[in-house]
């Protein structure tokens, strides 16, 4: 017991235990630590909350499978996002379409609810999230990933470049372009 209490609980330490001893307990700590973030990333990249959790589960399974490739001398988080992003992008390319709009109410009706009620915060929030989702959907997939990693998870350009395996200037340009697009769309739709 005492030996486990002194064990390294950093991401890299836990990952090392997974690799060395197939330690499921260590992996469960990593899953709990990042599960919300990966689910949110899946929602943002796919625009599909229904499939997001299944995708996040798939991401963690892939992470378990690939942990042998992880280099403990590097940060775990960017590596986790690299693997997860690949899983999600593969899913997207297999689905071809990002969002199933037929299952959700049209934006116009949500605007109507928000406008009439005024106090319907949930509807307003839903509307805003739909708008963001639509704006993201309109972006090229690489830009969408860069924007999500920057503004959802707070990664630096350098970290995003590492995750996407792209040159730093490409990432910077994608973020700037995506940001300009989002800003103009959100301002036009009155999101402040």
């Amino acid at each position: 017991m005492s030996s486990t209490s002194h064990q390294d609980t950093s991401d890299a330490g836990l990952a090392r235990r997974c690799v060395d001893h197939s330690d499921r307990q260590a992996f469960s700590v990593l899953v709990r630590r990042y599960q919300d973030a990966i689910v949110r990333l899946a929602v943002r990249l796919t625009g599909n909350a229904d499939d997001a959790e299944d995708l996040a589960q798939e991401c963690f399974l892939r992470v378990w499978d690939k942990l042998g490739h992880y280099n403990p001398s590097r940060d775990f988080k960017p590596w986790l996002y690299q693997v997860s992003t690949n899983v999600i992008l593969n899913w997207l390319s297999s689905r071809k379409t990002r969002i199933d709009t037929s299952s959700t109410a049209p934006i116009e009706s949500l605007i109507g609810i928000a406008g009439d009620g005024g106090a319907d915060v949930t509807a307003l929030k839903n509307l805003e999230e739909r708008l963001v989702s639509e704006v993201l959907d309109a972006l090229p997939v690489g830009t969408r990933v860069a924007i999500s990693l920057r503004f959802l998870e707070g990664f630096t350009f350098q970290e995003i470049a590492q995750i996407q395996k792209l040159p730093l200037p490409t990432v910077a340009s994608r973020v700037r372009r995506g940001l300009a697009e989002m800003r103009s769309r959100l301002e036009r739709d009155g999101v402040k």
Binding site: V19, R24, R40, L61, R150, E187
Partner: protein, 290 residues
Amino acid sequence: MMDHVKATDRMTDYVLGEGDTAERERIHDHIRTCQECSEAEIQERMAIECVERAMQLSTVASKGFADRVLSSLPEKPCRSAWRAYFPERRILAVFAVAAAMVIVASFFVVVDRFSRAPKLPVRVSANGAIVRLSMADLLGLQANGASYPIIYQSESSDPRIAAAALSVHVGFPVTPADLSAMGARFTTARMTTLDGRRVALSVMRYGANNLTLAEFDGKSVELPKLSPMSSKTREVLCGGEANCRMVAWKSRGRIFAIIGNIPDPQLIALAGAIPDAEPGPVSRRLAFFC
């Protein structure tokens, strides 16, 4: 001080906290002195905050998510633990270096093979007596990378006539098929007239691609210089019937032979070291040489 246009261009990166520190400090200094950029910075911050806020999600994983993940994990442990301590890029680098070393080594082996002057497969004792060649000698010669051309004269470059001419020299029948089985390649160098006969000087060469004659007289003679045949070359190849010898041997499945006038004492010794021929197919005959 940073100029206004540059500061405007890099405003987004500045607000996002990107770029190197020195540049951010220069933009910062500029903003303090430029009303327009100061306002642009505020606008930029507001816009980015708006996007950041809009990007946030309240979504969280459902209860039991982690348990579901753990229950889905395969029984087998994570892949190859050794990789964890040996990053992929380093493995690639090791392979790249190894491959480069193999390529460089191969290059030197090839260069060495084709540039080394052939050593004669003969040993001459101190008193000049001929020492008989052994299989070990021949294999040793081959191991040293030596290769000799078969040089023959015929009245045509036609392989059939070449084979017939070779038969006369070796004293037993040699067919074009035999030559083909030896893997011989023919190169007709020049047609010339020798002793009133129309003669094609050809080279069958093993292991080398260049058209340089072997060192019969201690010097290489390039084929283009053989037309018309110089007196020196004539002397080297066919100086007199009495000195015209043929040396052939087989080593590790390959056959080597020299035919011609051999003024070099070592080559004369070599020719003498080959026992007399016995009638029979060329393969048996050459096996006998070995």
